[in-house]
């Protein structure tokens, strides 16, 4: 299946990050495995160590399996001043995970992100592609509950 994704793009180096995004987005666990890298490496003739360098350089890529929903809480100063540390504590206790970990049921992965560009609504987080602003501990319970219920 990785080969099929590769085949959608011309085998030129400038397509590397597009192929990696495609692989990650279509994987149920939202990550790029070693096996996938080997396929991409052969397809683009780019050594695996270079691809690993790219994967670890950009924080949007993951080399470890992740949950169905990915929470990215902003850790930049404006959000911090507005209490993102309390939000983080709330998320950690509610989900029983540390940063970078996935809940036992595989529903959520908790990550930190640099500025999400919505400082006016600090503290801010994203769940998948949705942005949630003006966060409070109560709002967190509501958002997580809604997503859990929706599942």
């Amino acid at each position: 299946m990785y080969k099929e994704i590769c085949n959608k793009y011309a085998p030129t180096k400038d397509n590397l990050i597009y192929i990696l995004h495609d692989i990650q987005d279509t994987h149920p666990q939202h990550y790029i495995s070693e096996e996938a890298v080997e396929v991409v490496s052969e397809y683009l003739k780019v050594p695996a160590n270079h691809i690993f360098g790219v994967l670890t350089f950009y924080s949007m890529y993951s080399t470890k399996p992740r949950g169905t929903n990915i929470i990215r809480l902003c850790e930049s100063p404006p959000c911090y001043i507005k209490g993102s540390d309390n939000i983080l504590r709330k998320l950690k206790t509610m989900l029983s995970v540390n940063v970078g970990e996935t809940t036992k049921d595989g529903a959520f992965t908790l990550e930190l992100a640099a500025c999400l560009g919505v400082c006016g609504n600090a503290p801010v987080m994203m769940v998948n592609d949705d942005v949630y602003g003006d966060l409070t501990e109560e709002k967190i319970e509501e958002i997580i509950g809604k997503i859990r219920g929706g599942n």
Partner: protein
């Protein structure tokens, strides 16, 4: 065409080509700019920032390693502001560094240690926030200690650009940026070919060889063991520089004396099996030439090159000489011929090889190299380990009285000794192959076209009765790629290789530039060591391998003739295809026929 520009270095007017960077111009005129990640052999990466200078018209300092000179540039290399920057940068680097200098393998050679000392930095200026990352000791050859790494990136440049091996990479970013193998799988599970160039270019002790000294000392101090030692050609020109003698001095006889004082039971020499290699490989080459084969014969002495070939060119494995390396030929003979001649039990032999090479540690452990019935070579020590051994034994190397090696597998010719420099194996092979083909002696035996540090060297040798022998020599694996790609292309298009005979050495400069050689060397120093070998060659009474009386003797008494069934059984090997991702064996690429 480079233009000459006028530049003022600390007020002194100099004229330099506009292709130079500030640090190159400063080095040329003897103005020292402190530096850490910059190395004259490598393209600058501008990672550390220590080489900052002030340049007229610029509000902020510039990194001298990557700023080109320009007309009218006024450069200040020393000011209070610059001193303060450099100190702070060095203090920040030290805060990430496991400062255990006395026990570090790079002690007294470490570029961070001397920089910190020269700049007078305050070691307690910043708290130590060293990450607690485990040491990667997965490899048989190379140990990587992240706690000593300063992320200068030299190893990444060497691994990817000079050697094109693609084992090491930068990982993560910002303060978390570090050097790693793909998926943190460790060096042993990467395409690393063990060449060890990363250890030579590492400014600190973060990359070093696997230490095998304890095992060797144990064997020496065990009275039931008979410890036989061999030393590669390059060793004899790489010790002087470490003991206060002129770089490149030939110290073979001091080396033998030191080995005897350390307690080795039999002092032999790899140069002897280098001569033997010429007979085995030369005969193989001549057989191939006479058969009219369109495929080339490629040398097999360099274990970094062999693993590289198995990883990236397994389709051409049949073109590589089946001859084992001189080290492995010696190893198998030490436990067969040598024991037979001296009435010894091979089970009690411990065979030690002193090599300029980290990849030889991997080669020695190859399971296929056990044709004596035992592991042919028990221990490999690098030049650096041998130097530590000499120092541990308290030997005054500079003053030690010269001694000869023990008789037998130690006699060598000039052809054997030049194996240590790029082009040397080719030159030695031509000196003998000519005779093997024509039955006559080659008179002009100094083959200058294959000497020197040019990356790819071609030559054509007229051989009566055969025609023009086309040869090529490459050193450094990016150069090996150029040659191998042309061979692959030639075979695919015209069905013919552009060359008959090919020499490839993994390390730039050949073995004198090996990954196990003393720290802190550069291409210019490698050249001086190579000159030492050519000087020894000129001064030796016999300069052709087929005139080595001990080689004649071993064929008469033991092996029969070159490429005889016994010679093939003991002195030849076969190769594998390896994964480009993990370096692990996929399948046999060639087979050994008995």
């Amino acid at each position: 065409m480079a233009k000459t520009v006028n530049v003022w270095l600390d007020g002194h007017h100099v004229e330099v080509p506009d292709t130079m960077t500030i640090i190159e111009a400063a080095d040329k005129y003897g103005v020292h700019i402190p530096r850490l990640c910059y190395h004259p052999d490598l393209p600058p990466t501008a990672n550390c920032g220590v080489c900052v200078v002030e340049v007229s018209g610029n509000p902020t300092p510039k990194r001298a390693c990557c700023t080109p000179v320009a007309e009218g540039m006024k450069i200040t290399t020393n000011s209070n502001k610059l001193r303060s920057y450099r100190k702070t940068l060095t203090e920040m680097i030290l805060s990430h560094h496991d400062v255990k200098c006395p026990t570090c393998s790079a002690n007294n050679k470490c570029e961070l240690q001397s920089l910190a000392n020269n700049l007078g930095v305050n070691p307690d200026a910043l708290p130590n926030i060293m990450p607690n990352t485990p040491i990667d000791d997965s490899s048989l050859s190379i140990v990587r200690d992240v706690t000593k790494c300063i992320a200068c990136g030299r190893c990444v440049t060497v691994c990817n650009e000079v050697q094109t091996v693609y084992a090491l990479t930068f990982s993560d970013r910002g303060i978390h940026a570090h050097i790693d193998t793909a998926f943190s799988n460790g060096i042993a599970n990467s395409p690393c070919v063990n060449c060890g160039q990363c250890t030579v270019y590492c400014p600190t002790g973060a990359l070093r060889e696997r230490n095998d000294l304890d095992g060797v000392w144990e064997a020496i101090l065990d009275p039931t063991k008979h410890v036989v030692v061999q030393e590669a050609p390059a060793i004899r020109v790489s010790l002087a520089e470490e003991f206060g003698m002129e770089l490149g001095t030939v110290t073979a006889k001091k080396m033998y004396a030191a080995l005897r004082k350390i307690g080795f039971d039999a002092i032999m020499d790899t140069n002897f099996t280098a001569d033997l290699t010429i007979l085995e490989e030369g005969t193989e080459c001549v057989t191939k030439l006479k058969s009219g084969s369109k495929r080339p014969l490629i040398t097999s002495c360099s274990p970094g090159w062999i693993k590289f070939m198995e990883t990236y060119y397994p389709d051409l494995a049949d073109c590589v000489s089946t001859a084992k390396s001189p080290m492995s030929m010696f190893g198998v003979l030490a436990k067969t011929y040598y024991t037979q001649e001296h009435g010894l039990d091979p089970a009690n032999i411990v065979s030690v090889a002193i090599m300029p090479c980290t990849a030889k540690k991997f080669e020695a452990a190859r399971p296929e190299l056990r044709d004596s019935g035992y592991q042919d070579t028990d221990f490999v020590l690098t030049t650096r380990e041998f130097i530590r051994m000499i120092k541990e034994a308290g030997i005054d190397f500079k003053e030690i009285k010269e001694e000869d090696a023990d008789e037998g597998m130690s006699f060598y010719t000039g052809a054997g000794t030049i194996f240590g420099a790029t082009g040397g194996v080719m030159e030695a092979a031509i000196r003998s192959a000519y005779t093997l083909v024509t039955g006559e002696e080659l008179e002009a035996i100094d083959i200058m076209a294959v000497r020197g540090l040019k990356g790819v060297k071609e030559a054509t040798i007229p051989v009566p009765g055969f025609g023009d022998l086309r040869v090529v020599v490459a050193h450094g694996l990016s150069n090996a790629r150029i040659v191998m790609d042309k061979i692959r292309e030639g075979l695919a298009t015209t069905g013919e290789s552009p060359w008959h005979f090919v020499e490839i050495m993994a390390c730039p400069g050949g073995c004198v530039g090996g990954g196990g050689q003393p720290y802190g060397n550069n291409m210019a120093m490698r050249a001086r060591r190579g000159e030492g070998l050519y000087k020894e060659d000129r001064n030796l009474p016999i300069r052709k391998s087929h005139h080595n009386p001990e080689v004649t003797r071993i064929y008469e008494r033991f092996l029969g003739s070159p490429n005889s069934p016994l010679a093939v059984k003991l002195l030849h090997t076969h190769y594998f295809e390896r994964s480009v991702n993990t370096g692990q064996i996929i399948k046999e690429a060639t087979h050994k026929h008995h």
